[in-house]
Symmetry: C2
Subunit: 214 residues, 2 copies
């Protein structure tokens, strides 16, 4: 168990959301799962062991010090205005703005901006961190590959927020890699597209990216 | 030693070029190093053990089955027209079109195209492969991190060309990762910018990227 227990709001009820809720709850963090359908969120929460509640997006945001955005990117713009004030809250963006194109899965947004930066524009006051966008939900629960643990690439403009997310990453067995300012989501989003293409074509989803050091 | 020995043309005399020449020559491949200054290329070649010659860009291209583009990206457009016919030759693009911007090192080209694709446009007939663009020249000579060898991410449209580059990567101790079509240079070029930022800010250059599998 950590010294620091966070109040984590999980926006979404998909597999990433459920796995992260379970893992962080097991580490002693308090979790509130939010859905467009509050009843569904309550049902999902009831099935996760630990201090886990469920309800509306707005309740989730009000509860949380750390909010994790675990909904499809196409739903983000419509969802954010329902969260209420986010001043000072840490918002972990784990989305990828991808679309199918003639040359395969590609970014719909990029290089001169990133979805994370657009999210930051839409959430004034929130401390937006991009993370977990190139980790498969099953790998979340088992980040160890032989003697190597997968990297969690993290970028953001608020140093403290990044430290919190780094701690939350270590809590679940990842090697956090501070990947610079939020504008580097322009690099982490393409990284995720590469990972997705490898996962869903040649390699299968039991893969992860690692920054090797020595 | 391999079964297959290639005739490799190294365009450039920098540290990536010298290290790759040395490593591949040691594996029994024949090398021709080319420079704008043919005399310099000859001097460089004389200092590399093995079957290594030096001369002009045009001589290098004429010699090679496999050409490696190891010059700064800003010099590429002016250099390519000096190579002569490239029909069927494999051209390994290891450049990164980066520039300093207000938000740090970023890509000058991207998402709706890549430098590798522009190079392919400029080299009709050549089989362009993007590779080695996120590997530090010192890591080239020592790709082993504990029990993990670094990945060599490789993309291109010609399957045979990619297989050759995969073999050349294995020859020097890398784990080749087929990263899809050449248009995926739109993903490998941002990956390299991330790697550069990590290398030249927080982590130092003794790092490498790895696709973990199990």
């Amino acid at each position: 168990m950590n010294d620091t227990s966070y109040k984590i709001g999980m926006l979404g009820t998909g597999r990433m959301a459920i796995n992260l809720s379970r893992l962080w709850a097991a580490k002693g963090h308090r979790i509130f799962i939010g859905s467009r359908d509050p009843q569904k969120a309550k049902t999902v929460a009831a099935n996760v062991e630990g201090a886990v509640q469920g309800g509306s997006y707005r309740e989730t945001a009000a509860f949380a010090d750390v909010l994790a955005l675990a909904i499809p990117w196409t739903a983000v713009t419509a969802t954010l205005p329902n969260l209420g004030l986010l001043d000072g809250k840490i918002l972990i963006d784990m989305t990828n703005p991808v679309e199918q194109t003639a040359v395969g899965m590609q970014l719909a947004i990029g290089h001169t901006t990133s979805f994370a930066e657009e999210i930051a524009q839409l959430t004034p006051g929130a401390r937006v961190v991009k993370a977990y966008n190139s980790i498969y939900f099953d790998v979340l629960t088992d980040p160890q590959f032989g003697d190597q643990n997968a990297s969690a690439f993290i970028c953001g403009d608020d140093v403290t927020a990044k430290e919190v997310v780094a701690q939350l990453s270590q809590d679940i067995g990842f090697d956090p890699v501070d990947s610079g300012p939020l504008s580097n989501a322009r690099l982490l989003e393409p990284l995720a597209v590469l990972w997705m293409q490898l996962a869903f074509s040649s390699h299968g989803t039991d893969i992860a990216l690692k920054l090797l050091k020595r």
